[in-house]
């Protein structure tokens, strides 16, 4: 057992963790943030993507203790005052969600990309989400949605 402090979605947490606990389990099982999904558990699918200090990580490959004093964003942290983040809205508007299992990770990868590069080309978008596998959409509507999100963010 070890006590760590971390910030998740703007909130400070002080939690007891096991040494061998993954960040994914800390988020899902301790903090009840089940929007983060587990697909493969081995760093291949990106379903467990979260943002740690501005960079996307696969939370199945990060140990919970490595999150000590870090700032984490999960899909639950995106809406503001009951309003969806422009990226989430764009995913809805473009029909970029089918079964939805990849969606939280996709949206966070899109956010990390747009935070760095507000107006990416379609190729740059494809590269930005290439760590996130989707079995349903064939990615095209997701790329459309991220293009649209880039416009929405400009308008805001």
């Amino acid at each position: 057992m070890k006590e760590i402090k971390l910030k998740v979605n703007h909130k400070d947490y002080h939690v007891a963790i096991e040494e061998d606990m993954r960040l994914l389990d800390l988020l899902r099982n301790r903090l009840n943030l089940t929007g983060t999904k587990e697909g493969c558990g081995e760093g291949e699918c990106g379903a467990c993507t979260v943002i740690m200090d501005g960079i996307t990580v696969n939370s199945c490959m990060v140990m919970a203790f490595q999150a000590e004093n870090r700032e984490i964003f999960t899909i639950e942290g995106l809406e503001k005052g009951g309003r969806l983040d422009p990226i989430q809205q764009a995913f809805l508007d473009e029909g970029a969600v089918q079964c939805g299992f990849c969606t939280p990770g996709m949206v966070l990868s899109a956010k990390a990309l747009l935070d760095k590069n507000p107006k990416p080309t379609r190729e740059e978008i494809r590269e930005g989400i290439s760590g996130n596998l989707c079995r349903c959409t064939g990615y095209n509507k997701i790329v459309d949605a991220i293009e649209k999100a880039s416009e929405y963010r400009k308008e805001e």
Binding site: C40, G95, Q98, I129, S130, C134, C136, G138
Partner: protein, 314 residues
């Protein structure tokens, strides 16, 4: 050297279980106390959009807005069986059942309003008032759709194995790297017969998804079964495409209403996938002159086929 080639693949596909197998969908439409309509059906939403499309069919039949349709599906303890979300059958089969249940509900509502006030023009009937005035009475319509097919006789080819059929064609352009055997699809277009497009955006989503699955089937996915054991049992060795592997797809929706479909619609879930692999294999042939006869067309197989071709030429 990089070589380019083009290919097409065209298919027709029979909707539903077919071949005489029982294929039944059911639906119940109930007028709620607040004038909204509840639809109960066992149809399963797995992301393909059946909830949306089937709600649209109910709204259209009753002439109400989609917000006034309360769609209840999947829970087998309270919904009637509507078969599986398989065989590209939900839009067509369950869509028909829902349309029937809404038509029956409509008839029943008209019956009570004629008795009460003589009103028989549907447009003038306010569903909220009807629900208020007939509190004790449950107004509901039931719908059942059965696709009646017969088994096809192998010897004669006679029978009626499916109804209806759906048509599709893919065109693709590939680039084959003859030094390492990698095939890249650089351009693709899909034309899909849908009967009638109830929700074009969802249809496009199915086309994109089917295309990616077909591409993956043609070029990547290999279970690698050895002595009955699946060797490629994780995403590190069982490859599926990333966003970098799937090009933009040009999508053409072909509307030719199907007389027996709900508002002319047909299902397209599987049809959008089937033509992809033959189109890619034809394009590979066009590019490098070799026929790949076993999927997936991995770099290894391409290199082997090229080597064989060179040996034959010598």
């Amino acid at each position: 050297m990089k070589k380019r080639g083009k290919g097409i693949g065209s298919i027709f596909y029979g909707t539903g279980y077919g071949n005489g197998f029982p294929d039944v969908s059911r639906s119940v439409a109930v007028l709620r106390k607040d004038g909204k309509v509840k639809i109960y059906t066992g149809a399963t939403e797995v992301g393909q959009g059946s909830k949306t499309v089937l709600s649209q069919i109910a709204a259209e039949t009753l002439g109400i807005s989609i917000e006034d349709v309360i769609f209840i599906c999947e829970d087998t303890s309270i919904t009637p069986d509507a078969g599986t979300a398989a065989a590209s059958r939900q839009t067509y089969n369950t869509g028909n059942a829902i349309k029937k249940s809404c038509e029956e509900l409509k008839r029943k509502i008209i019956d009570v309003t004629v008795k009460a006030s003589g009103a028989d023009a549907w447009e003038e009937i306010n569903l909220r008032d009807v629900a208020l005035n007939h509190k004790g009475q449950i107004l509901k319509g039931e719908g059942e759709f059965i696709a009646e097919t017969t088994e096809m006789k192998d010897e004669t080819g006679q029978g009626n194995p499916y109804w209806p059929y759906t048509f599709n064609v893919y065109g693709v352009e590939v680039e084959v790297d003859t030094t390492n055997g990698v095939v890249e699809v650089i351009k693709a277009v899909c034309a899909q017969d849908v009967g009638r497009a109830i929700n074009p955006k969802l249809i496009e989503g199915q086309m994109d998804g089917g295309f990616a699955m077909g591409l993956s089937y043609a070029l990547f996915e290999d279970l690698n079964i050895k002595n009955g054991e699946i060797k490629h049992n994780k995403l590190t060795n069982y490859l599926i495409p990333t966003a970098m592997d799937v090009p933009d797809l040009e999508k053409i929706i072909v509307e030719d209403p199907e007389a027996t479909g709900p508002y002319g619609a047909k299902g397209i879930g599987e049809p959008v996938m089937i033509g992809v692999a033959p189109a890619i294999l034809n394009a590979i042939y066009d590019a490098i002159g070799v026929r790949i006869t076993e999927l997936p067309a991995t770099p290894n197989k391409i290199l082997l086929a090229l080597k064989k071709k060179r040996e034959v030429a010598l």
